[in-house]
């Protein structure tokens, strides 16, 4: 699998036609293309309905029309008025960024160590970290809750973040990518007088940046959408992340669906914008982590 094969789609071919290998456009192919396109549009329809309803007045939400007769931002003004959503955004950002930074740093450090060092106990560390992949997080939430309660970590950022600061998955992903860093580079750097930390940080890390960004995307996304642990670890609205806050907000809003759709839109729009900008990198990153992990 080359990176090129993942990202470029079918753009390489120069012949005309809807499908790869078509010379004249055949009617069957037009039908297939149309069905595929309609499927793609159907995939995003829930998001379109959500956004459209968030721009409607309450009396209009029963209509199926996608373009509101009188579009309004009133729902957004209302939902954002008490500042709760801003707070949840900041919480989610802090948690997701801090966790991502920690995972990228430590997983690549451990992955590098397991890949490039030979030392006593290496095999034990390797197997121990591998074995953590077999333990579902659901099995650990009650001990984690117990730990957080004992140390007073409930309702703190650290309480939300601590279980995810390092991952076995990322460690093995990075270990695989460090295989591609030639040992000669490391020996040369050692002769040049760099210490081992400098070799890792200045020589090895720049050579695996695609893997680092892929891991970062994956971890950030996972933390941004995480629900069950933040739900357990927080009980005051000030510490909620976006998914937990949205869940409680929607429960409260009851049948005010235009407000619920506004909340759902607020939770979704940032990721959509980021996706539209970094589309190619995100898909490539997800494929890379998916296949190598």
């Amino acid at each position: 699998m080359t990176a090129d094969a993942i990202g470029t789609g079918a753009a390489g071919s120069t012949r005309v036609g809807l499908f790869r290998g078509d010379k004249p456009i055949r009617p069957g192919r037009i039908v297939a293309w149309t069905i595929l396109m309609m499927g793609g549009i159907a995939m995003v329809m829930p998001l379109v309905f959500m956004l459209s309803t968030s721009l409607k007045f309450p009396h209009e939400i029963y209509d199926l029309n996608l373009i509101p007769n009188e579009p309004t931002l009133e729902n957004y003004t209302y939902v954002l008025a008490d500042g709760r959503f801003y707070r949840w955004f900041i919480n989610s950002l802090i948690v997701a960024i801090a966790t991502t930074a920690s995972v990228v740093f430590f997983d690549s450090l451990v992955g590098y160590t397991l890949c490039k060092f030979r030392f006593k106990g290496r095999a034990i560390v390797f197997v121990a970290i591998l074995s953590t992949l077999m333990i579902p997080t659901e099995m650990l939430i009650i001990p984690w809750y117990n730990m957080a309660r004992t140390f007073g970590w409930l309702d703190t950022y650290w309480g939300i973040m601590f279980p995810g600061m390092m991952t076995g998955f990322g460690t093995f992903l990075m270990r695989q990518f460090f295989e591609s860093v030639p040992d000669d580079f490391i020996h040369a750097a050692r002769i040049d007088g760099l210490n081992e930390f400098q070799i890792w940080w200045q020589v090895a890390m720049p050579l695996v940046t695609p893997a680092l960004s892929a891991l970062a995307i994956f971890v950030f996304l996972g933390n941004w959408t995480a629900f069950i642990w933040p739900l357990i670890a927080t009980s005051t609205a000030d510490l909620y992340t976006v998914p937990v806050g949205l869940s409680s907000f929607a429960d409260e809003a009851d049948v005010a669906w235009e407000l619920i759709m506004t909340g759902a839109s607020l939770a979704t729009i940032p990721t959509l914008i980021v996706f539209l900008i970094f589309q190619r990198y995100i898909i490539r990153g997800v494929v890379l982590t998916g296949l190598k992990g």
Partner: protein, 298 residues
């Protein structure tokens, strides 16, 4: 001052560096992963309820699980999510990927459309779909059915329809991931295989069943395992799509993780909840072992 350092061999120096790098992670894994794992088994043998000190009660929690009709129902629901979700999502994803792979015109745009739902927050989408399933005049699906002259459907209010209705957004959100993984798998098949088959006079169907699908086997195994584990751990959708997040109506949609959550964090029956997590662990372990078996058979 540096005398002791000069006496070390290169290998010893590197070992010190390695353990220096591993120091913080080793502490992390011991405290945050291994200790809680053993603690989990231990708690499952107690009647701990957060408020009072735990008593050791041997396997009473497991006996109670065996005799708990709700637990069996919950287990059945969990496997329903898995047995419906995995084949349906993989089949759709494969068909889409198979054709999308051949599409050239607007390929990237189409791929983006299919991929987009994967990036959404499950909680937000659960509420969007919950709205879709409402009765007329609110719910979108029933409005469409009414417009087309079909009968109204109860969806989330029916004990038979609610589970598939909750599964739908879970499948929908996961399709994008499966499609891009399938696309990568299809791309990895050397085109010379296809050319050779075509020269040998193989038809399209023959190429699909005798070249494409067998060569995609690692991709399929990977996706089956990932999506099986995902469906076995379904929680966000059920919690947000059923009233009070109770997995209703009448427990008909409640998966094991929701039962664990209720037992542990509504009833604070930690011992009993932990016993359930141990069962979940065993189920996932068996699936992982089957995966290793299948991969070795390659």
């Amino acid at each position: 001052m540096f005398a002791w350092r000069d006496r070390l061999t290169v290998g010893q120096k590197l070992a010190i560096w390695a353990w220096g790098f591993l120091a913080v992670p080793v502490v992390f894994y011991c405290v945050i992963r291994f200790y809680p794992t053993f603690e989990s088994f231990a708690i499952s043998l107690t009647d701990w309820d957060v408020l009072s000190d735990p008593n050791f009660i041997w396997f009473e929690n497991y006996v109670r699980l065996w005799n708990d009709p709700v637990f069996w129902q919950v287990l059945g629901n969990t496997f329903m999510y898995l047995l419906l979700g995995t084949p349906i999502s993989l089949l759709i994803a494969f068909v889409v990927a198979y054709y999308l792979d051949q599409v050239r015109f607007m390929h990237g745009f189409m791929r983006a459309l299919y991929f987009l739902p994967f990036l959404t927050t499950a909680v937000a989408m659960a509420w969007v779909w919950r709205w879709f399933y409402q009765p007329v005049p609110i719910g979108t699906f029933n409005n469409i059915l009414a417009t087309l002259g079909f009968a109204q459907q109860p969806f989330l209010r029916s004990t038979t329809q609610a589970l598939p209705a909750i599964l739908a957004p879970a499948i929908w959100a996961g399709l994008g991931f499966q499609i891009v993984i399938f696309l990568a798998g299809l791309r990895a098949i050397p085109s010379s295989y296809y050319e050779a088959a075509r020269i040998d006079g193989a038809g399209k169907w023959q190429i699909l069943t005798e070249i494409t699908i067998p060569l995609l086997r690692p991709t399929v195994v990977f996706l089956v395992v990932i999506s099986s584990i995902g469906f076995l751990r379904i929680f966000d959708q059920v919690f947000n799509m059923t009233p009070q997040g109770d997995g209703g109506p009448l427990n008909s949609t409640k998966p094991i993780v929701l039962y664990i959550y209720e037992t542990g964090f509504d009833a604070f029956n930690m011992g009993y909840a932990t016993a359930q997590t141990v069962i979940l662990f065993l189920i996932l372990l068996i699936i992982t072992l089957i995966q290793l078996r299948l991969l070795r058979g390659r």
